[in-house]
């Protein structure tokens, strides 16, 4: 992935960072960097799209910039979801698409485990309404100033259980299906 050139710096971290940034030249990173110059962005090369990490304090402002800026015009919110990284907190992930420019961007925000609040993206795109409702009820995230914070798929009174967190256990039958029904045992046998 990163080309190991002869970068002679004393600090290994800086070297890898420069190398990472260099290898993103062929993606849309220079464009995003320019547009989001007022925001602290950390890029990463994803499998198809560019992934950017933005701190929680700047996220709504950054999303608004991404939508309004003429060079990028991310006017389409594709997907909004969260990933539970257990002890490292919960990542809220936004997938953005620009219809006029045909470019994609993934934005991630990390929320600490004990304080899962974040601003709402419904101010930016209306599509975020139901997507945030679902993420909130599945992960226990609170989106501040959301216009309609009811549960979407879960029953109305189920506000204390968050099914998609890793700490929420599987039922016994589900564990049976996944782990105990032969797929792990295949490594020993020679069937199929």
């Amino acid at each position: 992935m990163t080309s190991d050139e002869n970068v002679d710096t004393t600090n290994g971290e800086e070297a890898s960072e420069i190398a990472v940034v260099d290898s993103l030249e062929d993606t849309i990173w220079p464009l995003i960097n320019r547009v989001l110059s007022s925001v602290d962005v950390t890029p990463e090369r994803g499998s198809i799209d560019l992934i950017t990490q933005i701190p929680r304090s700047d996220i709504i402002r950054a999303l608004q910039i991404l939508k309004d800026n003429e060079e990028v015009q991310f006017n389409y919110l594709r997907c909004l979801t969260a990933v539970d990284n257990e002890s490292e907190g919960v990542d809220v992930v936004y997938h953005l698409y620009s219809i006029p420019k045909n470019i994609n961007l993934t934005v991630k925000v990390n929320l600490p485990v004990d304080d899962k609040t974040i601003g709402t993206a419904t101010e930016v795109w209306e599509a975020a309404n139901w997507l945030e409702r679902e993420t909130a009820e599945m992960f226990g995230i609170t989106f501040n100033n959301h216009p309609d914070p009811r549960t979407l798929l879960m029953p109305e009174d189920m506000t204390d259980t968050f099914p998609l967190l890793k700490s929420h256990p599987f039922a016994e039958i589900e564990i049976l299906q996944g782990e105990l029904l032969g797929y792990d045992r295949e490594n020993q046998g020679d069937d199929e």
Partner: protein
């Protein structure tokens, strides 16, 4: 058959016997109509319809009737007792009252009334009260909505129906159904009144609450309409009334527009031929109704009302005026044919204009070719 002609001179006994014959005939015919409708609709939709109960499914209606009789008689707790109970009868009885004047053959009707056509119109509009009673008495939101819609629709389409029948009466110079039939020995009335024929069929569909005017019983919206709380025999009353009304409308159509038993072979025919002719003409009408049901979507309530008041009614008025002019000045009757055909063209144009807002906006499709999106 002991009819008044052949023996019994006591008027009321004669009438009672005729009515019994009619009622007996009706039940069989209605059950047969239900079966025929299912078969015809099935054929339009490329399936078979009832095939298992009895030979070729002929006993299907009997089976349905037995099932309905055996059902529990449910009554909502808060249903208004008088309106809920009486509604089926209020729908059923006016339809049967209409049978008094219908001519099956020469001398084969219950009574010859001088104002037969007016009597028919009067009794057919009584049925609407029954629908509203069913809707109100059921203590159910959907039933009430259905009942209101039925009332609105029924009242709106009464007028074109009445006026179309009056136009025909003008041409035949009588309200007596027997005279109307006899006056058509050489030419049927539909030749002189083509526009009125079309309007009669449309208004008849609406009075019968049949597609495309079956909003009150719209299955995918207010399920079942005013009859949603009725079960078993009570519900079957409504159903039978609908098919009996369909049959009467067919008979009136045959008598008034196609010359009943008198055209095309004159009035000296034997009774068998007369009944056959009437049956064929009625079947034509009924088949047309079934055909329309299988092919056409349903109109929305406001479109339905607009269609009646803004399109059908003015056209019928114009037709009546033209009729009057032609008859007063003794002009030849083929003028009526020409004006009628022009009227049909006008009707079609008006419908098209109402549906497509001007200027003609068609969905012109811009196709995205291989250059990709945006």
């Amino acid at each position: 058959m002991n009819n008044g002609i052949y023996g019994i001179e006591i008027a009321w006994l004669d009438a009672v016997i005729r009515l019994h014959i009619i009622v007996g005939l009706m039940t069989v015919v209605v059950m047969g109509l239900i079966y025929v409708e299912r078969k015809v609709l099935a054929r339009f939709q490329q399936r078979l319809g009832p095939t298992r109960t009895g030979p070729a499914g002929l006993l299907q209606s009997v089976a349905d009737g037995l099932k309905l009789v055996g059902k529990e008689d449910l009554r909502p707790r808060n249903a208004d007792p008088w309106t809920f109970e009486l509604a089926p009868y209020m729908v059923f009885i006016p339809v049967f009252l209409g049978f008094v004047i219908v001519p099956f053959a020469f001398g084969m009707q219950v009574r010859i009334l001088e104002l037969g056509l007016i009597y028919f119109v009067a009794t057919s509009s009584l049925g609407i009260i029954g629908w509203v009673m069913a809707g109100w008495g059921s203590d159910n939101r959907y039933a009430m909505i259905g009942g209101m819609r039925a009332a609105a629709q029924g009242i709106s389409y009464e007028l074109p129906l009445v006026l179309s029948l009056i136009s025909v009466a003008m041409v035949s110079q009588s309200f007596n159904l027997n005279d109307i039939v006899l006056s058509q020995s050489t030419y049927p009335n539909l030749l002189w009144q083509p526009l009125v024929l079309v309007i009669f069929i449309i208004a008849g569909l609406a009075e019968l609450n049949r597609t495309p005017f079956d909003i009150p019983v719209g299955e995918s919206e207010v399920v079942g309409g005013p009859f949603v709380e009725y079960s078993g025999i009570r519900w079957s009353f409504f159903f039978l009334a609908e098919y009996a009304a369909l049959f009467i409308m067919g008979l009136i159509f045959a008598a008034v527009f196609m010359g009943g038993w008198a055209w095309p072979l004159g009035e000296e025919l034997g009774r068998g031929w007369q009944i056959l002719l009437v049956t064929v003409k009625t079947s034509l009408f009924i088949f047309l109704i079934f055909w329309i049901r299988a092919s056409v979507p349903r109109l929305r309530i406001d479109q339905l009302m607009a269609f009646s008041w803004k399109i059908l009614l003015p056209l019928t008025f114009v037709q009546v005026l033209i009729n009057g002019a032609v008859l007063v000045y003794d002009a030849p009757l083929w003028i009526l044919t020409i004006t009628g055909l022009v009227g049909i063209v006008v009707l079609v144009r008006l419908i098209e204009r109402a549906v497509r807002p001007s200027p003609a906006v068609n969905s012109e499709f811009v196709s995205v070719g291989n250059e990709g999106a945006s």
